[in-house]
């Protein structure tokens, strides 16, 4: 056994020595397949193929062992696009089968086989631990860099969808791991195999809660991005449909939709309230005063209307010419009125217009009534005191005054015809 272990140890050391010796070729193989070339390269390829570090791909072409690639990717935290998460359910079934067999071997007393199987179960549990940690590292690196392993937005969105499903599968497997941990832990306690109980609780049980939290966080981010993605798709869809409608309904000016108070506030345009400050002319603050003076200076100048016009026109001379005298021809009534006026001015007596007319043959052509109305008005206008001679002073209801004459005197103290 010791010699076997020693041989195995030296073989493993040789494998790592070979890998170290040809590390340059391994670095090249990480980026893509390597081809046979010069003698030195061919020798290196042969050595790596011997230790299964390189696998034949095509004629003369070799690729890095996928397990080695995974190991290096985990170290570099660099993953390919759409790299699936490691499934652990097979390992969970394996652990369950190993445990069942371990129990049977312990009961049968096959200690050596039981010990080996316990070591294999340890290996399986460690594998499950490692796989889940690797899945979480992969998810965190992709989600935190927003799928930085691709640049195209569409690819990013598709990866988001892909890993959304992967996370759902992971959550289901986490439940399976939880179940197997409870089962093995309880059965190991009953069977008295405390080493297995300690193994399962330390490696898996104690980490489950943290794993679930990390997985849920990643799920939340992915879901949020999925929701955002759906929202963006809907927005672009709405935009495209709206423009299509505009192009296809050229005679339609708009859309009739009932809008009520329950409509979302976002569709109501913001209110605009114009605010215009004014100067406080009573403010004596120097700043305000200066501002006021500046504002006034901007006003248009007042036009001073007191000044004479610059080009005032000279007064137009009036040409006077001799005009022929116009002979005033008076009518008989006008001539006689002038005589009466002269008589009134010469004496202070009261003259009766009818009596005065009676001996004036020049007034025979007009009636007494015409003479009275004409003369009274003219004399009154000239300022004489004119008085009606009323006949029926005893009339109890003097609505209309009936007069038969006017009495005129030169006194002009009253301007009323009485």
């Amino acid at each position: 056994m010791t010699s076997e272990t020693g041989n195995q140890g030296s073989q493993i050391a040789q494998i790592f020595a070979s890998l170290a010796k040809h590390s340059d070729l391994l670095s090249m193989a990480l980026d893509g397949p390597v081809e046979t070339g010069n003698r030195e390269q061919n020798k290196a390829i042969d050595a790596l193929v011997m230790v299964n570090a390189l696998k034949p791909y095509e004629e003369g072409t070799y690729r890095l062992n996928p397990r080695l690639r995974d190991f290096i990717s985990d170290h570099l935290i660099s993953y390919n696009a759409f790299q699936a998460l490691t499934r652990v359910k097979d390992r969970v079934h394996q652990a369950q089968a190993q445990w069942s067999q371990l129990q049977a071997l312990r009961q049968a007393g096959a200690t050596a086989d039981a010990d080996r199987l316990e070591w294999a179960l340890d290996d399986t549990v460690t594998d499950i631990d490692y796989a889940i940690e690797r899945n979480l590292t992969l998810l965190n690196s992709l989600v935190s860099t927003q799928y930085g392993n691709v640049t195209n937005l569409k690819a990013k969105l598709n990866q988001n969808l892909f890993y959304g499903r992967e996370v759902d599968a992971c959550m289901t497997e986490m439940n399976q791991v939880d179940s197997i941990v409870d089962l093995i832990s309880a059965e190991a306690l009953n069977a008295g195999i405390l080493s297995v109980r300690q193994l399962i609780n330390r490696r898996l049980g104690s980490k489950l809660l943290n794993w679930r939290v990390q997985l849920k966080d990643a799920q939340a981010i992915i879901s949020k991005r999925l929701f955002w993605q759906r929202k963006m798709e809907r927005r672009l869809n709405n935009l495209a449909k709206s423009v299509l409608w505009l192009n296809q309904h050229k005679t339609s000016s708009g859309i009739e939709i009932d809008v009520d108070t329950s409509a979302p506030i976002a569709i109501f345009k913001p209110v605009s309230i114009k605010v215009k400050p004014h100067l406080d002319v009573r403010d004596k603050d120097p700043v305000t005063w200066d501002e006021m003076v500046t504002s006034i200076a901007k006003l248009t100048k007042r036009i001073d209307r007191s000044l004479p016009a610059a080009n005032a026109k000279a007064a137009q001379p009036v040409l006077a010419a001799e005009m022929a005298e116009i002979e005033i021809i008076l009518t008989a009534e006008e001539f006689m009125l002038d005589q009466l006026t002269a008589e009134l001015l010469d004496s202070d007596q009261t003259i009766s217009l009818c009596e005065w007319k009676s001996d004036k043959p020049q007034l025979n052509l007009i009636s007494d009534e015409e003479w009275l109305l004409y003369a009274s008005g003219q004399l009154y206008a000239q300022g004489f005191f004119v008085r009606m001679a009323i006949d029926d002073e005893q009339d109890p209801c003097p609505i209309n005054h009936r007069f038969y004459d006017f009495l005129v005197t030169c006194k002009t103290s009253s301007n009323r015809i009485s």
Partner: protein
């Protein structure tokens, strides 16, 4: 301290981190939001938001029937009110080769749009059809001038800001979410129906009920 913020709200601006970085940062504090709301309440207004993370704006405290009528009127004049912006955004969507989400903060470069047009001749023809839609453009202007004027039109309407004059790079502002909200509202009322609707689940579909419409003209 919040004087500038209040003035911008009164002016009807959408306060987003792209167009109004400082004001937006202030509004992220609960104390400032409370103070602004108390001040706006005296005007029968309130602080509203386009979404949970969207731009802030001033809205009426109580939406009355006449306000609903105003929105209805805008929808009846949909072609005039929203048409120009939608046509320009759709052109950008088609010209930009890398996926665009039309989200606040997203960048667009005129050079990218021009590249898209060079690679797709039909896009150039579609761009010319925006004559009459884009403000201040002449019919014989070059494609680049069309694109520049289109981006300036969007900037003047408040949908983008010029983030880098040298690279002619623009960024969408929070106001773009208002357009999305209107389109979503119209879509929910099934006022605009797509030509073809793809009901089949695609790879990667986790069973969500959203249907992706495939449009023949794309």
């Amino acid at each position: 301290m919040i004087a500038n913020l209040l003035q911008n709200l009164l002016a009807g601006q959408y306060i987003c981190p792209v167009a109004f970085q400082d004001d937006f940062d202030k509004l992220e504090k609960a104390s400032v939001r409370s103070e602004v709301n108390a001040w706006l309440a005296k005007l029968d207004m309130r602080l509203a938001r386009l979404s949970d993370t969207g731009a802030y704006f001033m809205a009426r405290s109580v939406i009355a029937a006449q306000h609903c009528s105003a929105v209805k009127e805008d929808l009846l004049k949909y072609r005039d009110v929203y048409g120009p912006i939608l046509l320009m955004l759709n052109h950008i969507r088609q010209a930009k080769t890398e996926g665009l989400e039309f989200s606040p903060g997203e960048r667009i470069q005129i050079a990218e749009l021009e590249t898209g047009i060079i690679e797709n001749a039909s896009l150039a023809a579609q761009l010319r059809q925006l004559y009459g839609v884009i403000k201040g453009i002449t019919r014989d202007a070059t494609n680049r001038t069309y694109l520049k004027r289109m981006m300036e039109h969007l900037r003047e309407d408040g949908f983008v800001v010029l983030s880098n004059a040298q690279t002619e790079s623009y960024q969408f502002t929070g106001k773009i979410d208002h357009i999305h909200a209107v389109l979503e509202f119209i879509s929910e009322h099934e006022a605009i129906v797509g030509l073809e609707v793809d009901d089949q689940a695609h790879d990667g579909d986790t069973g969500d009920l959203f249907a992706t419409a495939e449009l023949s003209h794309d």
